[in-house]
């Protein structure tokens, strides 16, 4: 029997390419000889747009780089500009930033879980995960006014204080969430089809992961304990004691387990942060402030720690002298860095985003070669790639 090699195009429009990723595969039957990933279908020129806008005008655009974890990119840009201009951030704002970032991490992992299992053929987990995600999105909509691209951080803190009853709703969500993760585990973790499709598939060894610059849950599933929240601490993560889950196998199943454990850790972190936020819930803070009324900076209720932004910056006047800075933030996909170079005017000279999905897409062809055609979707889903981050 004569067989020939087949060249297949898994084109930019495909229900499971998580965006617009194009894969060109050389197939020999069901085995992949060679695969090439072509990106650039969503290149909007984010880095060039920064050079003709103010720092303040660029801030809403930053959320759109990775729309599922908009808070992390916003945070890295805010920390960069605050580091360059020497702007301090009050403690209450840092705690609000931490709570919103962890909520965003949970919602991003929930959508990842739903679409990963949809790619493997299971349609019901998508609806369960989106049901939980709608709850988180509703909480964040009460706080910021937007469902997805929040635009909540500003240089010097956050834009507004939380509304009344918000901390109570977050607390209720965190109490009900671990039971939902247990539900997902009952449905998915011991499922024989899921185990067959993901155990031993797409193994990333430690050396390969470090060589390709993989970070985040993909690296932690290969046994390397690296998390920017612990190794390069920013915000108020230093004050908290939390675990970093790792697994040793490095296959798709390990990546799935690491992300589920991360969701549980985030839930614990939020519960601890709620108890420690300076000033407490906003309805109580308002009462304390009116009772005290002294307006002295040392006072626990009227002072600096319970403000929400320290100094409102003027977009016409925020001029930063020539300097450069790089900030590192642990986003839900990995290590996200922002490099900002200022040149004395009120527009940045160069902004560069190093996003975790870029490295993950680079390793995808290496993992798929020699495997089965059906494994592409399992590997692509487990790497948690979001294309706007890759193309910027």
């Amino acid at each position: 029997m004569i067989t020939e090699e087949l060249k297949i195009n898994i084109g930019p429009q495909h229900p499971s390419t998580h965006g617009v990723l194009r894969l060109v595969a050389d197939l020999d039957g069901e085995y992949i000889r060679d695969i090439e990933a072509k990106i650039g279908y969503l290149h909007r020129g984010m880095e060039k747009l920064a050079e003709s806008r103010n720092y303040h005008q660029y801030l809403p655009m930053v959320d759109r780089i990775d729309y599922l974890s908009g808070f992390f990119n916003s945070a890295s840009f805010c920390y960069a500009v605050e580091g360059l201009a020497g702007i301090k951030v009050p403690k209450r704002a840092e705690y609000l930033r931490l709570i919103t970032m962890e909520l965003n991490r949970i919602s991003s992992h929930l959508l990842w879980l739903g679409t990963f299992l949809l790619d493997l053929g299971a349609t019901s987990p998508l609806f369960y995960c989106l049901r939980e995600r709608e709850e988180i999105v509703k909480i964040l909509e009460n706080l910021t006014g937007q469902r997805m691209m929040y635009n909540y951080y500003c240089f010097g803190g956050v834009r507004k204080d939380m509304p009344d009853g918000w901390l109570g709703s977050v607390r209720d969500f965190c109490e009900s969430f671990p039971a939902k993760i247990d539900d997902y585990e009952k449905l998915i973790t011991e499922n024989p089809i899921f185990l067959e499709r993901t155990k031993g598939v797409g193994v990333i060894s430690q050396e390969m992961a470090l060589d390709f610059g993989i970070t985040g849950a993909n690296l932690r599933a290969s046994g390397v304990k690296f998390d920017a929240r612990k190794n390069m601490p920013y915000s108020v993560y230093k004050d908290f004691n939390f675990d970093i889950p790792i697994h040793q196998e490095g296959d798709c199943y390990a990546r799935y387990q690491v992300r589920l454990l991360e969701m549980r850790e985030s839930c614990h972190l939020i519960q601890k942060a709620i108890t420690r936020i300076p000033g407490g819930a906003s309805e109580k803070l308002k009462v304390k402030r009116t009772n005290c009324g002294c307006n002295k900076p040392e006072c626990a209720f009227c002072g600096d720690e319970t403000k929400v932004f320290f100094k409102k910056t003027n977009p016409l006047v925020l001029k930063i002298p020539t300097s450069e800075i790089t900030t590192f933030v642990e986003s839900s996909r990995g290590l996200s860095t922002c490099y900002v170079r200022a040149n004395g005017t009120n527009m940045p000279d160069r902004v560069k985003w190093r996003t975790p999905s870029f490295s993950a897409t680079q390793i995808l062809p290496e993992l798929c070669k020699g495997g089965l055609y059906a494994d592409i979707m399992a590997i692509l889903g487990s790497l948690d790639i979001v294309l706007p981050e890759v193309d910027r």
Binding site: I39, G40, H43, G45, E47, K48, E51, G83, L84, L210, D211, F212, G213, T215, V224, F226, N231, M232, S323, E324, I325, T326, T327, F328, L335, T337, Y339, R341, R350, K352, R354, F358, S359, T361, Q362, D391
Partner: protein
Amino acid sequence: MSFEEFFNRHELNIIQEKDASDNDIWLVNQNDLLKVCELLKTDRLFNYEMLLALIGLDCVSHFEVLYSFYSVKNHKKLFLKTVLQKENPVVESLCGLYSSANWHERECFDLLGIEFLNHPKLERILLPKDWIGHPLRKDYKEEDERLSWNRR
């Protein structure tokens, strides 16, 4: 041993600077770049296993390339900077040492026009294949007549 003794032993001419958040930046010559990166990866003093990012910069009179390294063993980060000339910027590729440099260098070439020697496949990655010009340069003007239907 300190960094100065190390540089003298290997006859490297490196200037040390700091950026706004107190990270180390080393200014390296173009010719020494490959040697320094090999030392960074293999020497027991440094052990930088990860190349995190490769940033091309267009300062108006010259080009610069900034490399970002991280060592998981020693929990340390490091930046390297090389200065390139304005016409025909050319620099050595790090693909042999770090596999992550592959796509980063392709992106740098695509958007800024910096050429990397000994790169396995240096072609455009983010823009269409027959795009004219390198957009991230400061003197870039959109002059493609084929795209006149997309004007404002």
